[in-house]
Symmetry: C2
Subunit: 127 residues, 2 copies
């Protein structure tokens, strides 16, 4: 859990949720988001081809099915392009090594500070 | 729907369900069942390798996932080795071209007659 004093947490929440996004920022965010998603999907495609190439037993089929289902659910959950949660999403992707802070250059200083803080904070998706 | 006069249907049901299986018949049934299942699983493995080789877009991933899920559910439903339903299962597999009547040679005449009749009757799994 985060170690904010209790009274500060709602302020952090609303500060993040209520950020205003300029058109230029939206373009930067969309580009960073799409690139991270496409890179992740490409990695999944490579992994699926590798797993399929190694299938020998029926159990390998169902392992591949499970892998695909888990990735699909993970993507549905994690790649959420709503501005109210987007800074948390970016922090999460940075933590997982799927995005770099420099991909977000051009966002306001305040947004970058939130993302940096959230990415450092442990498990931002559980905040 | 099958076209039995109504009064005959329960008799057909119980005749099929109440068949006695000798040890020799069980061995024949098990061998035919296992061979049909393994051949089907091998065909699925070949198909999955082919589909994986052709993946280019993310949508191809989820098409592969759906294919695997459908096959797993179909196998769970269709390959049911209980003696009370096994003649229906065999008839169904014959209809789908996954088993031949001659694979069952050695079962009693009555069982072979039931299987033949069910396989001709349209959709035995809905009887």
């Amino acid at each position: 859990m985060a170690s904010f004093p209790r009274s500060e947490v709602p302020n952090t929440y609303s500060a993040i949720r209520n950020q205003k996004w300029s058109s230029a920022e939206k373009a930067i965010a969309r580009k960073a988001f799409d690139r991270a998603l496409h890179q992740y999907l490409d990695a999944i495609i490579r992994q699926v081809k590798k797993m399929a190439g190694r299938i020998e037993e029926p159990s390998d089929l169902w392992e591949l099915e499970r892998y695909l289902t888990e990735r699909r659910k993970e993507i549905d959950r994690q790649y959420d392009y709503r501005y109210s949660v987007l800074l948390n999403v970016f922090a999460d992707l940075i933590q997982k090594g799927r995005l770099r802070e420099q991909d977000l250059q051009g966002l306001s200083e305040e947004k970058l500070r939130h993302v940096h803080h959230l990415a450092q904070a442990g498990r931002p998706s559980e905040l």
